[in-house]
């Protein structure tokens, strides 16, 4: 039997000042397979992640929905949370109720809350179809390519090289140095640029 846990993040006041997070959590409890739903001030914080881990153990959850910011920001964070609680990290889905809800409908709190509930329902529907996935291993060629040999390229190349790795520094001009070598003394110290 699938058991979904739903975690609604306030993101301080970023989400909670627009979306009624309590009623989103309440609504989530009625969705199919949802065994547990709650809200918390900062889901990505250490105590927030503890809330998730504890719920996974106590309620025997096998998949999780986090409704918070965009997955482009914290999906890896919460995947690690699941992993440390013994779940496959791909049993996670996120509902983006910050960037794509609270922040863009801040003048329409009622509709924003309805939309947040819809987004959570959608994520729950998806996560119930998730399967465990496993990453592949690939080799790592420990050699860096730096494109452009101005200040940035040279400094990057030197630092990588100092760390003990090989670097190829490519420059389209006949000589390295970029704009820097055209300069005289540089602020604020007025020392030379070479």
């Amino acid at each position: 039997m699938k058991r979904v846990g739903v975690f609604i993040c306030h993101c301080g006041s970023n989400i909670a000042s627009v979306v009624d997070v309590k009623s989103v959590a309440e609504a989530a409890k009625s969705f199919p397979y949802v065994a547990y739903a709650t809200d918390y001030q900062f889901m990505c914080s250490e105590p927030g992640q503890e809330v998730i881990k504890k719920a996974i153990k106590e309620h025997n959850l096998d998949r999780v929905v986090v409704a918070s910011c965009t997955p482009r920001l914290h999906e890896p964070t919460f995947q690690k949370t699941l992993e440390s609680a013994g779940l496959n990290p791909y049993m996670l889905e996120m509902a983006n109720i910050r960037e794509q809800c609270a922040w863009v409908h801040s003048k329409n709190k009622e509709e924003a809350t309805i939309k947040a509930i819809d987004l959570v329902r959608t994520a729950v529907a998806k996560v119930t179809r998730n399967e465990q996935l496993f990453a592949n291993k690939i080799p790592n060629n420990k050699k860096a390519l730096v494109i452009g040999a101005g200040i940035a390229g040279m400094q990057t190349a030197i630092d990588i090289a100092d760390a003990g790795y090989k670097v190829v520094l490519v420059e389209k001009e006949p000589t390295i140095g970029g704009n820097m070598v055209k300069l005289d003394k540089t602020f604020p110290t007025l020392d030379c640029s070479a």
Partner: protein, 73 residues
Amino acid sequence: MSVEAVKDTAWEPKIVAFTCHWCAYAGADLAGLNRMQYPPNVRLIRVPCSGRVNPQFVLRAFQRGADAVLVAG
């Protein structure tokens, strides 16, 4: 529904959007970051690429009552 009727009932369309993770979905995130405001009718589905959108998905949305579908990527 005629245009007049639409006006009278304050009817709002339901829009399903399939958005590419790398561009359109990121763009929607950026709109949020900049606190741009837009009507809440649209629901985004994140796909890895607009090339992932099977015409079947679009038909399914219409079948289930979506008024409009946006594929952006």
